[in-house]
């Protein structure tokens, strides 16, 4: 980025029209994406006002009465607000660290493999990402069921342990959820890292091996530093979604068990459970606005840190 800016500074600027003309095909390629982005992400923005209104179907969005911040109240009605915010953020932080580490590890291993076996591993590892959360919930249940589960009937007796009531004990769930999340997402994330690794100039590795660098040294001094921009970008994007949780993971995998709410309740599941009963559109919208605003602030803060530490890789 900095190199581009430097070169742009030397060459005298051409008039805007000429530059536009030169890049016209590129703008055309961009057009479908821009239209998609506009329709999907920008056109619904005025709908945000629903969060501040008492929505009435007959009167419509614009005609409904304005009620200010009243719709946000229920989020902070009880001490639950603190609990769900804590759960959402801490789980996502753990996911970012564990999943990034696992994805890079798997990507490096895959990049060293060759031939048919590589394609097989790549597909196999991607499979969990394509399975619906409901099915993942039941796969977990096959392991954790109290009476018929694999863990209680096969694994624990091997170590002479007694049965565990998995769906009542809160202490196990942070580990179970992090494990399931890693299992589910590592395949998808590693593809991105794998493509970044594939993009690294092979001649760097060749000269390194001529200079006598071992495989480990190549990974340590070539692959990892060159992966850094990708890691930072993906992490920044993940931080932007840190206030959103994977609904299926937190709702389906613990089987919606009340006893586990203190460790599995995140903002998404809390809002869902509250509103499935009440069915209030404005309150749902309020929760959405709250999530977006906090998420936006978190991206800016994270980007600020990156700019301080490593200005070349910051997004803006």
């Amino acid at each position: 980025m900095s190199r581009l800016e430097a070169s742009a500074g030397k060459v005298p600027q051409k008039p805007l029209g000429k530059r536009m003309k030169r890049f016209l095909p590129i703008y055309l390629i961009m057009l479908p994406g821009l239209i998609y982005l506009f329709i999907n992400n920008y056109m619904p923005l005025p709908g945000l006002m629903v969060a501040f209104k008492q929505y009435n179907i007959k009167k419509g969005i614009y005609g409904s009465p304005f009620v200010g911040m009243k719709n946000f109240q229920y989020l902070f009605q009880t001490g639950d607000a603190l609990l769900i915010t804590r759960n959402t953020i801490l789980y996502n932080l753990a996911f970012i660290v564990v999943n990034t580490f696992m994805a890079i590890l798997v990507a490096i291993v895959l990049s060293e493999l060759t031939g048919k076996i590589k394609n097989f591993y790549q597909s196999a590892i991607l499979l969990p990402n394509l399975i619906s959360s409901v099915i993942i919930g039941y796969l977990a249940f096959a392991f954790l069921s109290v009476e018929n589960g694999f863990l209680n009937n096969t694994i624990l007796p091997l170590f002479g342990q007694s049965k565990v009531d998995w769906y009542s004990e809160t202490k196990y769930w942070p580990f179970i959820l992090i494990f399931v999340s890693a299992w589910k997402s590592v395949g998808y994330n590693c593809i991105i890292y794998l493509s970044a690794i594939m993009g690294i100039d092979k001649s760097i590795y060749e000269s390194a091996s001529i200079d006598g660098a071992s495989k480990m040294q190549q990974i340590r001094y070539i692959t990892l530093p060159l992966l850094k921009p990708t890691v930072i970008m993906l992490t920044l994007m993940a931080i932007g979604r840190i206030f959103y949780s994977d609904f299926g993971l937190f709702y389906q995998v613990p089987m919606n068990q009340g006893a586990l709410y203190s460790v599995t309740n995140t903002i998404d599941t809390y809002v869902y459970r509250g509103l499935i009963q009440v069915g209030n559109i404005s309150m749902s919208a309020a929760a959405g606005v709250y999530q977006s605003v906090v998420g936006f602030i978190l991206v800016l803060v994270a980007n600020l840190f990156v700019r301080k530490l490593d200005p070349d890789n910051a997004l803006v």
Partner: protein, 530 residues
């Protein structure tokens, strides 16, 4: 290099797939439309309903212009049956004399609320609709329902309705003294404290029902506990009892005002004082009973996570008994999966405050002609031929009449059903044939059952929770956390119950109770109930 190539192919394939998706969606080709709709059950039902509507609109245009077109909307579990058009034509043969022409708009239950919300808000013509899954309080406050007694609409065009339903049940549907909807003929009462137990297991312990016992065997709680203890000794490896998620409304004397637990009437609604159920002895005893059963090993450790229906568990011989609601015909209903069941009852038959006014029939304000809609309702409450067509379809095609006067449907006879709607939802169910397998006298028994049951004093009260939505959402979150634990007997009520109640009070339970009490007092004064 090869890997790079295959990756590139993969990526470009993904992009191409994405763009194709975009393209077809943007052009809105009919192909994309149908696949998208087929993706979800709701979607497909919506299209089929829309298809039906289009079809009958064309017949309406072709037919005699003097007939008034009336659209009747209600759901079934599976959406519009295949032969809806055929049955609709047969119904129109009967209705011709009344100067109306019916159009059946049937959706599936899961998308019914959404379909109706859209139809009503866009002013589409709906003349008669069932209010199942709808929120009547919201519909009324939005002005979506017609006052059925305004300009003596019901007296003029629906003279037979009052006798068919009964004045006191009509009154139980009033909201602020106005009548917006009418209840169908069905069981309003529910036998509380009922347990269904597989008859083969009772034979196994040598249990003999008393000679004078009818379809439902009335016993005391102690006698039931004794039977359960014997069953557990005889079949120690089987799950004995599976609790139900609506256990409170099946196994206590609590009347859930306005359909939720946050502010209730105790003791079968004998007193108009709104109480906190979680501080009541009745709820505590219920939780203690479940906890006791769980401690004794009657309830499976997986009961709270397993969502398999009790009927299936019973048929798989994995379960001995379960909580249920009792009514005439429940023995046949519970045994319908091929496992003969015996029903025990330890509590009273009860009509809760909201029982009569649920899944009622209304005339929306988007009606083309309220008089024609009322005429149709009158026919549906009084004309047996029309009602049988609506529920069962065409005789000897969709059902056959048995010697005892009951109707055997094609699906009950083992064939593929091409028509059938939900009888318990139909306005004049008592006019129809009794489904085969039941006592031919079932409807009379049901009427007596309704008459003889304890009625809540608040029968007909509806709660408008608009002012306390925040509190309801917050208290519901607390209830969800403890509900299964307490009501399935996994948590000790001695510690968990006060803990939950404390959290609920902190979340604003008292504010909901106060709002309910205030609305109930206003309602009671207006309705003259003391």
């Amino acid at each position: 290099m090869k890997a790079k190539k295959s990756l590139a192919v993969l990526l470009s394939a993904a992009i191409a797939a994405g763009m194709m998706g975009c393209g077809s969606a943007a052009t809105g080709s009919s192909d994309a439309g149908t696949t998208a709709a087929a993706g979800t059950a709701a979607g497909s039902a919506a299209t089929s309903a829309a298809g039906d509507a289009a079809q009958s609109e064309s017949t309406a245009a072709a037919s005699n212009g003097e007939l008034k077109h009336v659209v009747m909307s209600f759901p079934t579990f599976t959406g519009a049956p295949q032969d809806t058009q055929m049955v609709q034509d047969a119904m129109n043969e009967i209705l011709k004399d009344k100067g109306i022409e019916i159009e059946l708009l049937i959706s599936d239950l899961s998308s019914y609320k959404q379909n109706m919300t859209l139809a009503l808000s866009s002013g589409e013509q709906i003349d008669v609709m069932n209010l199942i899954t709808q929120d009547p309080a919201t519909l009324i406050s939005q002005g979506s329902l017609t006052d059925l007694e305004a300009d003596s609409l019901m007296d003029t065009y629906g003279p037979g309705i009052k006798d068919a339903i009964g004045q006191n049940y009509i009154d139980a549907c009033r909201v602020n003294e106005k009548l917006y909807s009418l209840p169908g003929q069905h069981d309003y009462a529910q036998g509380r404290g009922c347990i269904a137990i597989g008859t083969e297991y009772l034979d196994g312990i040598g249990y003999k029902a008393p000679a004078d016992a009818g379809e439902i065997i009335h016993i005391t709680e102690d006698e039931l506990n004794d039977i359960l203890a014997q069953l557990h000794t005889k079949y120690p490896d089987m799950e004995l009892i599976r609790p139900a998620s609506n256990g409170v409304s099946q196994y206590t004397s609590i009347d859930q005002l306005g359909g939720n637990m946050f502010g209730v009437l105790l003791n079968y609604g004998s007193d108009l004082k709104v109480e906190d159920p979680f501080a009541s002895d009745d709820y505590k005893q219920f939780c203690e009973l479940m906890y006791g059963w769980n401690q004794k090993g009657y309830i499976s450790a997986d009961a709270k996570t397993d969502t398999t229906s009790v009927g299936v568990l019973e048929a798989q011989k994995a379960l001995i008994g379960y909580q249920t609601g009792g009514k005439p015909g429940s023995k046949v209903q519970e045994s319908s999966l091929g496992v003969p069941m015996t029903i025990f009852q330890t509590k009273e038959d009860f009509i809760s405050s909201s029982a009569v006014a649920s899944f009622t029939w209304a005339i929306p304000t988007t009606t083309g002609d309220a008089a024609a809609a009322m005429t149709l309702l009158n026919e549906l409450y009084t004309n047996a031929d029309l009602e049988n067509l609506l529920v069962y379809g065409i005789k000897d095609k969709h059902y056959t009449l048995q010697d005892d006067g009951t109707a055997l449907t094609t699906s009950a006879a083992g064939g593929t059903s091409t028509y059938g709607t939900l009888g318990w939802m139909a306005p004049g169910q008592f006019l129809t044939y009794v489904p085969t397998g039941n006592d031919p006298d079932l409807w009379t028994q049901t009427k007596t059952f309704n008459e003889n049951s304890t009625k809540s004093k608040a029968s007909g009260f509806t709660f408008d929770g608009t002012g306390v939505t925040n509190e309801i959402a917050a208290v519901q979150a607390v209830y969800d956390e403890y509900k299964t634990g307490l009501e399935y007997g996994f948590l000790d009520p001695a510690t968990a119950l006060p803990e939950m109640d404390k959290k609920m009070i902190a979340a604003g339970l008292q504010k909901i109770i106060d709002a309910k009490q205030q609305q109930l007092d206003t309602w009671a004064t207006a309705a003259g109930v003391k």
